[in-house]
Structures are given as C-alpha cells and as structure tokens.
C-alpha cells in the first residue's frame, strides 16, 4: 500500500493564482483531513470529510474549498492565493466511527509559498 500520497511536494504561487493540492489514500479509510502547519506551530485543521459526498469545516477554512467525490481522493482547492496561505499542508486519513481514537495516517506534506 502507498498509504496517503500528496502532490505536489513543493509549489510557489503568485498572489491571486489558484491551485489544487491532491491527496489520495489506498487504505479504504472513511475519514480524511486537511491540516496546515505554519512555521513553529502545530497543525490546524482546515477541512475534513467523514465519507464520500460529506465535508465539514475545521478551525481555519477561509480561503479553501474541498470536495470528496470518492473514498480515495480528497483535493484541497485554493481559489485566490494570498501570502497568509504560505504553509505546509498535510493530508491525513483514518478508519473509524465518529472521532474514535483510530490512528490518523499522514501524507508527506506539500510546502506552498505564495509570493
């Protein structure tokens, strides 16, 4: 199994550009998550999904959109990139009921810089 994969690994955007961060998992997990990690900080939840067709906002959703059309994929869309979105983005997945303690598996992260 590849686990959780993310593409791209690095990206530089200009202010106002748009892009989609891709995330896929091959573990048949029902839950998927997007986090951002700013320098010197912990991870903050952007959006999460409990299954295909269902998404919910996390702590810092402004400026982002998500969709979950399949169990495997959970892309994160930035519509109008701003310098405040410069961060490392992590995708994660888990198999569980509602917020059980089952381990979240993390992808390797995408480092995004907005100039």
């Amino acid at each position: 199994n590849a686990g959780v994969t993310q593409t791209p690994k690095f990206r530089i955007l200009k202010i106002g550009q748009s892009m989609t961060l891709q995330c896929a998992q091959d573990m048949n997990h029902n839950y998927m998550y997007w986090y951002r990690q700013d320098p010197g900080m912990g991870l903050k939840l952007i959006y999460y999904s409990v299954g295909a067709g269902i998404t919910d906002k996390g702590e810092v959703p402004n400026g982002y959109n998500v969709s979950r059309s399949t169990t495997e994929d959970f892309p994160l869309r930035l519509e109008l990139a701003a310098p405040s979105q410069t961060s490392v983005y992590f995708c994660a997945s888990s198999y569980s009921g509602q917020f059980s303690y089952n381990e979240q598996f993390f992808g390797p992260g995408t480092r995004l810089t907005v100039l």
């Binding site: 900080m41 992590f90 059980s100």
Partner: protein, 113 residues
C-alpha cells in the same frame, strides 16, 4: 473550546539519558483521547503513543511512556535511553467524540551525542 498547551518550546538531552516533555489540555469532556506525535526533519508525522482517558493505566511503547494525570489535565511524555534518532519536534494532541485532533505548538527536542 479544547486547547492543548506545550510550555517547553525547546529541550535538549544527552544521549542515553531520560527526558520528559510536558503537555496540558483543557476540556469539559469526560471521554477523550490523547496522543504524542513525532515530526522529524523529514516532516513526516509519526504517532508515538496514545492514551484513552477512561484508562487509568499509563500507556507505554518501548522507550516511550506517558504520565497521564486526568484530574490535573496533564499528559507528559517520557523518553528513556534517548537516541540521536529521537531528535524531532514532538506534538501533543487531543480529540473527543465531537472534535477532531487539536495540536499543541510543539516541543523541539535535540538529543546530543
């Protein structure tokens, strides 16, 4: 709102020695789960240890153990026989049935040869 506080931004320890990382949290829930994650320079998030709040016995995983004090809302991580490969950021995290993971700001641990 649930919060997680790690009061030690940086720590260092000599190889083979023992170090304890502190974590406190705030919640009104009675059932919840606590975690320690390790993030080495590779950026990969690695689960180190987890604890269910309803279990009184402290969790252990090889050289890693926790001191869970529910009344004090404290969840410290002890690393015994520290190794150079333990050098990393360590994040304390918390979740309940109603909220996903909430992370602390992390503690940067350096193991010195």
């Amino acid at each position: 709102a649930q919060t997680v506080t790690q009061s030690q931004p940086e720590m260092s320890v000599q190889e083979a020695e023992t170090v304890t990382l502190s974590c406190t949290y705030d919640t009104s829930e009675n059932n919840y789960y606590l975690f320690w994650y390790k993030q080495p320079p590779s950026r990969q998030m690695i689960l180190v240890i987890r604890q269910e709040a309803y279990k009184q016995q402290n969790a252990t995983e090889n050289r890693f153990s926790v001191n869970f004090q529910k009344a004090a809302k404290s969840f410290s991580l002890k690393i015994s026989d520290s190794q150079l490969g333990d050098t990393a950021m360590y994040f304390c995290a918390f979740m309940t049935r109603h909220t996903p993971l909430v992370f602390g700001k992390g503690t940067r641990l350096s193991v010195i040869a």
